[in-house]
């Protein structure tokens, strides 16, 4: 014997093939088109595309609107998720399905629905116009509204699931120690669901950033005011497909940068 420590038998944990095969196919389906986009992109056009003021306007507008929409979704959506998860009132289950409807609605139809609600002749918009002289369509506010409408359900669903699975024992303990319901929510429940909050917000932001159908229908298209990147990409496609690809590349790169940045700073900190 040489005295060497015998190698500890490693437990082999191979992924079983019925899981591995579809997983690889699924990955391919998601990644291949992106790879193709990267391969076929006119990289040399990028500086030229980025130098155009309309492109920068569209990019800035996209980032600002998606961020405001996410903020709005957090302010409105988190309380909504809490109500859906914790309320025992009748009809909550129905409400939960209603909240998910924008997910299945084709965004263009969502845009028309927004027009019928908040448009100049809409059921709410009519009063806004008559009483306050405010019209929402064709403004940047309309872009934010359209993006919030389409993206907020992603946040609500994610956070609602977390509220429901979070251990309510902590809430009860805090309550018996004299904390009010609002304090419990703020100091106990919210920190418990923080990872889901981060994931939901990121999903919501990404969906808002790529929003096209509801935006072009409800907010229209005007460079600098309502023309976000997806709209600019679609319109460039009509005349100059190479420019459109370059634009998508810009959007893709920016969102990857933001998502990777957030993941390091925010998501993993909460997920531990």
């Amino acid at each position: 014997m040489t005295g060497a420590v015998p190698a500890r038998p490693r437990i082999r944990r191979r992924t079983p093939w019925p899981l591995a095969a579809p997983a690889v196919l699924g990955l391919g389906l998601l990644v291949l088109p992106l790879v193709a986009l990267l391969v076929r992109s006119p990289w040399r056009m990028l500086p030229h595309v980025l130098a155009q003021s309309t492109v920068l306007d569209a990019l800035r507008l996209s980032l600002v609107c998606a961020s405001i929409a996410t903020g709005l979704a957090l302010v409105l959506g988190v309380p909504l998720a809490w109500v859906l998860a914790r309320s025992e009132a009748r009809g909550v289950r129905l409400l939960r399905s209603v909240v998910t409807l924008p997910l299945v609605l084709p965004p263009v139809v969502g845009g028309v629905a927004l027009l019928f609600a908040f448009g100049r002749t809409g059921i709410v918009g009519r009063w806004l116009d008559d009483w306050l002289g405010v019209t929402i369509p064709f403004t940047t506010a309309a872009v934010v509204l359209a993006e919030t409408f389409v993206a907020m359900p992603f946040l609500v669903i994610t956070v609602e699931g977390a509220f429901r699975t979070a251990d309510q024992g902590y809430d009860e303990a805090a309550a018996t120690l004299g904390a009010s319901r609002l304090t419990v929510f703020r100091r106990v429940t919210l920190p418990l669901v923080r990872p889901s909050l981060g994931a939901g917000a990121v999903l919501c932001w990404a969906r808002a950033l790529g929003e096209f159908g509801a935006t072009i229908t409800f907010a229209g298209n005007l460079p600098g005011v309502t023309q976000t990147m997806p709209l600019a990409v679609y319109l460039a496609m009509q005349t100059d497909p190479a420019a459109a690809t370059a634009l998508s590349l810009v959007l893709l790169l920016v969102s990857v940068l933001v998502l990777v940045g957030l993941r390091d700073r925010w998501l993993s900190a909460g997920a531990r």
Partner: protein, 260 residues
């Protein structure tokens, strides 16, 4: 997104049709008219070409005309990328030129001309009576974006009239402009005469004086796709013939088109 889907569908159709093999026309005879032809036409032709398609099927029993309507620029992109088209009718010579340059079509001929008109919602909330009203700051105007034919022609009209219009939105195609007018979200939109007529009482048309109006001409062509057999080509040529015939011109005129 839309492009991608149509592209994928187009590829699928091409793959299927080339896989099936093609019945060749008998040697030494003129290929008979028959089978299925695919007609790609600008969306402003929806009404008239649907009628002409039916007419063609009546005149030539056993033929089927499949119609695909869309923005001329979309259709040109689809054809260049190999979508199986036998006839292409475009709303502007620009998009036709793209297809010709890509080698998919030759010798397009103009078959119709369209002019512009102001469309306002039935109640006319903006009090629009003439073209110059569109320059008023309190009037919300929708136009097509300058890259599509209807936007380019609208810009010409404003230029001829010497007015500056600040639209609240530049829509992707003429039907989107019409929709914004029909639901009353804008006070006026610049659309084709044919669109106002097709929209019925959803919108009201206000004529633009001929001295400042601008036109776009519609070219048509048979597409020389690699997948189309000689029978398709003969049938496609017959369809183009119908569009240019007196009967075809009557149908187009009733939709509001003018002669080239």
């Amino acid at each position: 997104m839309k492009h991608l889907v149509t592209l994928l569908l187009g590829l699928l159709v091409v793959a299927l049709s080339t896989g099936c093999g093609k019945a060749e026309a008998p040697v030494g005879k003129a290929p008979p008219i028959g089978g299925t032809i695919r007609v790609f036409a600008a969306s402003s032709l929806t009404g008239s070409f649907t009628e002409l398609g039916r007419e063609f099927e009546r005149q030539h029993p056993g033929t089927t005309v499949q119609l695909n309507f869309g923005a001329s620029s979309d259709l040109a992109t689809q054809i260049i990328n190999g979508a199986p088209a036998d006839v292409f009718a475009s709303a502007s010579p620009t998009n036709m030129r793209q297809a010709v340059q890509a080698g998919d079509a030759r010798h397009p001929r103009a078959f119709a001309v369209n002019t512009m008109e102001i469309a306002v919602p039935p109640g006319d909330p903006g009090g629009v009576h003439r073209l110059s009203d569109l320059a008023r700051p309190d009037v919300k105007v929708a136009v097509c974006q300058p890259q599509v034919p209807c936007g380019a022609v609208a810009a010409q009209v404003f230029h001829h009239a010497g007015i500056t219009v600040h639209p609240v939105t530049e829509e992707v195609d003429v039907k989107s402009v019409l929709t914004k007018v029909a639901v009353g979200e804008v006070d006026a939109g610049i659309v084709y005469v044919t669109d106002v007529r097709a929209a019925g009482d959803q919108v009201r048309g206000i004529r633009i004086p001929p001295s400042v109006n601008a036109t776009t001409s519609y070219p048509i062509v048979t597409v020389r796709g690699s997948q189309s057999g000689s029978q398709n080509r003969a049938t496609a040529a017959a369809f183009v013939g119908l569009v240019k015939s007196a009967r075809g011109q009557r149908v187009l005129a009733s939709a509001g088109f003018e002669k080239p």
